[in-house]
Symmetry: D2
Subunit: 222 residues, 4 copies
């Protein structure tokens, strides 16, 4: 099964990222699909993912701060709002059900793989412009979309997790983010952006973030 | 009539800002109160205010990017969302009713007084930390609250504008922002923050932003 | 007399900046040339220029922070070092000779025209990338070069000031900065950068900073 | 042997960093002392350290951009200048002698431990203020000083490396940076800074960067 069509930049960047397959077909992901991922690994992932989501939200806030148009600001603001007012409270509830108290969540020690990834994304945004930031954010948003689309209907122990990312809402979000990226690129660099030297830097941002996603799964893997 | 009570930092910073009175009792404000402000001046203000709101929203996005706690992120995200999804579309509609088309709004040339103010706030946030940013943002949020509270019920030609800022929703926002600032200060600098050298820098941020508010009214004044 | 040749981007941006002539032929500049600029105006300029140089140095530091290559970092670091270890101490000595003590300099109140300009440049750099920052920095560096080249040999009361910017060292700096900008542009956007949408944004950065230079002269003018 | 006295903040932060000993007495360091570190490990370290130095220099540039006083700017500018114009060219020469060509250096793939550390430091600086940045930079500057002071005179295969950091110039730099940090803290937070909530955040910055230093040695270790 091929990845969903989330737009032009996604296709170009994914095809240039050596570890895209290693990320989206990681043993951790296969464990989610088959349900054979040990619970302890999933809980380790959930706790680190909470810390990840904080910095990921901050990165989306930075997208809004670095936006040029009202449409870009609105898209980033909506994502940030959904993350902080829906996703993160939901994440806290899911963790609580799994036996991780909010206090335990808050005191999670951020492992190096998590630090590497989140700070890479934020720093890309601060040091570069909105395009660097979007390229570094894309593997997480769209990779989870690709994983969710592939695993949809697998059922099993992790069906809730799979449904979150395979479901229509999240797939729509991926299409929207893909379109936001394509529009942002064309608006600044024109329709021929893929042939500019800048395109190599952006693809490298995407590839590095993809590599750091692999490290994130590795960290949580059994 | 005294200013509303928006918390401790507001009271300290306002009392240390030489131009607070000049800002909140500016002839432009008095013109809004009496209804004698010429329409042309109001329209000039509205167009510049649209450009202002874009950068003001970006500054609130930066608050979220620089936040430490989920509560801070949620407060900033909610403000950013309200600004980009409610305030700015409303502003566009009000301008359209006043004869300023969306295209005209978009092509408004940002005057120097506007540039000075918005870039001062954003740069305070980028170069400093979240406290510098909040101190620079406060005069706008809370000053409009103080003006709205004072002018509430004046009626007249600008009753809508007055009601926006004098109304309960905006007054509640001011109380919330005041509390956000007080909590952010105590959380980082402790209850004795007002006696630290840092307090002088923050008060100077507030005072400078207040001065730039005066410049903003001057710019639009007849 | 035409402006010196500081490279391709300079020529393109200057020709697109409506107020380039107003900036480089401002009455203040003419007053420097003829020597008829009142001393009080020159001192006002010197004091504000000290505050300007602090933020201008910070902006060059930001160029180094946002650089991709060692060569870019070295160029920015050399400029920053010259500014902080040579220019600013020199400026302090010149002001002292003119009767402005270091304490008076330090307590100069930054006027709005100064705030507008410096914060615009810094914020362009923080919110954009290194190209936005360079485009916003260029009018100051290269405009003073163009003014210095034109006024060189005028003699008179302000001969020292003229010689600083008209002299070989500063002219070489302008050629180097022009080359740095051209290389940075090509390296990221390719040789056809001038035809990309991005080129319009960068030209607008240059034009706005040029406009703010006019405001700076206006502020100090008699 | 105890660490050298690099000032008050250093002593406080070091004593609160659980992995300070693990960092400064890492097996890699012991291998440098005894000379038994395999050459391949040292070369791996050198190549990654080149990439590290690029981002470390960018972080010192950011210190200058975020400085409040001319003295702070001058200190940061001098460090940045030494790094980009002396240290990095020297590093390139040392690597060349060791058989790593400049091209090979430039194409070094940055490993995750390196990414984690450098982006953590830069992001601390962008999202926080100059104090966050200095606290995150301190373990590298001062830890190498502590290691150099302890290993000085060990001789052996890595005597050059040891002498670089144990020698008088580098030790003086550590004293200067320690003083810069102490002054920056007092200037903003007053003499009682160590009792403020902020002190815990800064100590955590130092502790995290220390932890990432351990990861850096681990990465290069045989």
């Amino acid at each position: 099964m091929t990845d969903p069509d989330y737009g032009r930049a996604f296709a170009i960047w994914r095809d240039a990222a050596p570890q895209w397959q290693a990320y989206t077909h990681h043993p951790f992901v296969e464990g989610l699909r088959t349900g054979q991922l040990p619970r302890a690994a999933f809980l380790r992932y959930l706790a680190q993912d909470y810390v990840f989501l904080i910095h990921f939200s901050r990165a989306w806030a930075l997208v809004a701060a670095k936006a040029d148009t009202l449409a870009e600001m609105q898209a980033a603001a909506a994502t940030l709002h959904a993350l902080t007012h829906v996703e993160m409270p939901l994440h806290i509830r899911i963790c609580a059900q799994a036996g991780i108290t909010p206090d335990a969540l808050e005191s999670t020690e951020e492992v190096a793989a998590n630090l590497a990834y989140t700070r890479y994304v934020l720093e890309a945004g601060y040091s570069g412009d909105i395009l660097d930031l979007l390229a570094a954010l894309a593997p997480c948003v769209l990779g989870y979309g690709a994983i969710g689309a592939r695993l949809a209907g697998s059922g099993g122990r992790y069906a809730d997790w799979i449904e979150t990312y395979g479901g229509q809402d999240y797939q729509q979000l991926c299409h929207d983010v893909g379109a936001l990226i394509d529009t942002a690129l064309e608006r600044r660099l024109g329709p021929g952006w893929a042939d500019l030297p800048r395109a190599a830097t952006l693809a490298a941002r995407f590839a590095t973030a993809t590599r750091l996603e692999v490290g994130f799964w590795d960290m949580a893997a059994p």
